[in-house]
Amino acid sequence: MEKFDKVHGVAAPMPLINIDTDMIIPKVHLKTIKRSGLGVVLFDEMRYHDDGQENEEFILNKPAYREAEILVAGDNFGCGSSREHAPWAIKDFGIKVVISTSFADIFFNNCFKNGILPIVVEEEHHAVLMEDAQKGENARMTVHLEDQQITTSDGVVIAFDIDPHRKHCLLNGLDDIGLTMEKDHHIDKFEDHASQARPWV
């Protein structure tokens, strides 16, 4: 996985709460057996009219936000299904950071597996960031993972928390499976023990 360091880019505001994974990527696009190429259908039903034309009103279709790398979203972002197609589409579009007051659990996990940084901030900080994101292409925020800081376009600095293990994996682009396989002997030992204790499993 690519190493995650620092993002300096346009932040797009999506204040709607409860944006679910069906909105992020509708099921018609889940029939792929690949991970790539889903950026074009990100937010499909909001982004395009029924005839396939772009909806000019949709935030990511506005000239200022077409190259957005950061999304400032409403509460409970990513609720709904476990489909990893949601972060795949976000990543493929070019968004590397999603900021909200809360995320649905599975979506939150899925982001880290794909080199996307989901950041949870307090409501008051969220309001500051949302307002900054409204400024269009001038709203270039900086997200610095090592320092755990977001800097708004006017230089306001907001610190954020992140699980140290996840931070380490993102910064170094580490593959979870490889890491776990290094602990193979622990898994072997557990299986030996469990096959005695619960042989019916």
């Binding site: 057996i33 029924d50 609720c79 476990s82 649905a104 193979d184 898994i187 557990f190 619960r198």
Partner: protein, 467 residues
């Protein structure tokens, strides 16, 4: 020893390794796989030259995009769906995992097949690349959905990298009123907590009204724990659980059964164990409910009216306004006046035999409203066979329902069963999101009995009027 919750006990029994920062490798007892979220995971294994670590604990079944019309025996017409199902056929064979192919009578929705075949047992850890894996919590198993990267991780290592969630208790006291079902309980709880109320928690459902539920009802309750934002839902196993499990194809037998039973009987929350959050509802207060909006938290008793957006606070005001517009409703409109085009009975929430019995009970000797499109999609081939044996299929067909083959069907509309823009559906499934059942489609979630009532009258209906 400090008192433990049921979640604590199952968690502790499955930690294979704990790092200094509390990150654990949690051992997975059962991994369920379906065609939509697994192809990229198997591809990842192939590219890295990895094997499935425990194929004997891995069970696959196609369900999400299989057609449910009888002609599916001739193959799947949609090329993309067919490729996904064929990929699962091949992956199951190449990696040597248990498999129920599309035309096997045991095929069905993965969360119905697992329990039915006895793969899901109390005290297990169960995962699947599907958020409704929470269903299996009804057995006192720690069960949750995972993404495709985690599917690959479990296939390769039989573990997941996890941090422990917090404990939440949801107690439903007393008895349910007539016409009120497990679906009404689980929707009422989400109405109370909101869709993010469970985020960061594992919920244990308890109380007399939960104890009184059958296993089918308990699965309905746990199934929607995810709609409340929780990682998983749990119900402590008891005689009802053991009775259900006993004799199933993959349940333990003989001396192993006795050994298992001894352990299962220790799986309950100790007195004085700590819960980080507690919600209590009185069973008597729960009414038959429906959803009016596009989030499962938009729940009201059928006797209520569509709310005013201004009744809410914060971001919910705008969300409610958007929902009401999308749903084509008017604030203040009586829910029981809302006319329905389509009725869908099925899904991992309500596609089990008891759900079909409840709907058939209301439909017996009646006809659905003229022009109504109505379908029953049993959760598995075995549920379907049992319903035919019990005469339920005849009741549905005589009433005017289509009697389908097993699959996820119109719950998520990946197969041909979809709503048209503006089409309004009373659905026993779990999500009423915008476009969930088809672009522009409008979904009202409710119980199987309420769905049957709506099919008869052509509008959202208080089932108690038909009882």
């Amino acid at each position: 020893m400090s008192p433990k919750t049921l979640y604590d006990k199952i968690w502790d029994a499955h930690v294979a390794h704990e790092a200094d920062d509390g990150t654990c490798l949690l051992y997975i007892d059962r991994h369920l796989v379906h065609e939509v979220t697994s192809p990229q995971a198997f591809e990842g294994l192939r590219m890295a030259g990895r094997k499935v670590r425990a194929p004997e604990k891995t069970i696959a079944v196609p369900d999400h995009n299989v057609p449910t019309t009888p002609d599916r025996v001739n193959g799947i017409e949609n090329p993309e769906s067919r490729i996904q199902v064929e990929a699962l056929d091949k992956n199951a064979k190449d990696f040597g995992i248990h498999y129920y192919p599309v035309n096997d009578v045991r095929q069905g929705i993965v969360h119905i097949v697992g329990p039915e075949q006895g793969w899901t047992l109390p005290g297990m850890t169960v995962v699947c690349g599907d958020s409704h894996t929470a269903t299996h919590g009804a057995f006192g198993a720690l069960a949750h959905g995972i993404g495709t990267s985690e599917v690959e991780h479990v296939l390769a290592t039989q573990t997941l990298i996890q941090k422990k969630s917090k404990n939440m208790k949801v107690e439903i006291t007393g008895k349910l009123q007539p016409g009120v079902t497990a679906k009404d309980i689980t929707l009422a709880v989400i109405g109370e907590t909101g869709t993010a109320g469970g985020t960061g928690y594992v919920i244990e459902y308890c109380g007399e009204a939960i104890r009184d539920l059958s296993m089918e009802g308990r699965m309905t309750v746990c199934n929607m724990a995810i709609e409340g934002g929780a990682r998983a839902g749990l119900i402590a196993p008891d005689e009802t659980t053991f009775e259900y499990v006993k004799g199933r194809p993959h349940a333990p037998k003989g001396a192993q059964w006795e050994a298992a039973l001894n352990w299962w009987k220790t799986l309950f929350t100790d007195e004085d164990a700590h819960f980080d959050k507690v919600i209590t509802l009185r069973g008597e207060d729960i009414a038959p409910v429906v959803t009016w909006g596009t989030s499962p938290e938009d729940v009201l008793p059928i006797t209520a009216t569509v709310p005013q957006p201004e009744d809410f606070e914060g971001g919910k005001v705008e969300a409610a306004r958007r929902s009401i517009e999308y749903m084509g409703l008017e604030a203040g409109q009586k829910l029981s006046d809302v006319e329905i085009d389509t009725v869908f009975i099925g899904s991992c929430t309500n596609g089990r035999i008891e759900d079909l019995r409840a709907a058939a009970e209301i439909l017996k000797g009646k006809k659905i409203k003229d022009g109504m499109r109505a379908m029953v999609v049993p959760g598995s081939g075995l549920v379907r066979a049992q319903a035919e044996e019990e005469g339920l299929a005849e009741i549905f067909k005589e009433a005017g329902f289509e009697w389908r083959l097993a699959g996820c069907s119109m719950c998520l509309a990946m197969n041909p069963d979809q709503l048209q823009p503006g089409e309004r559906c009373a659905a026993t499934s779990n999500r009423n999101f915008e476009g969930r059942q088809g672009r522009g489609g409008r979904t009202h979630l409710l119980s199987p009995a309420m769905a049957a009532a709506a099919a008869i009258t052509g509008r959202l209906t208080d089932v108690r009027e038909l009882m």
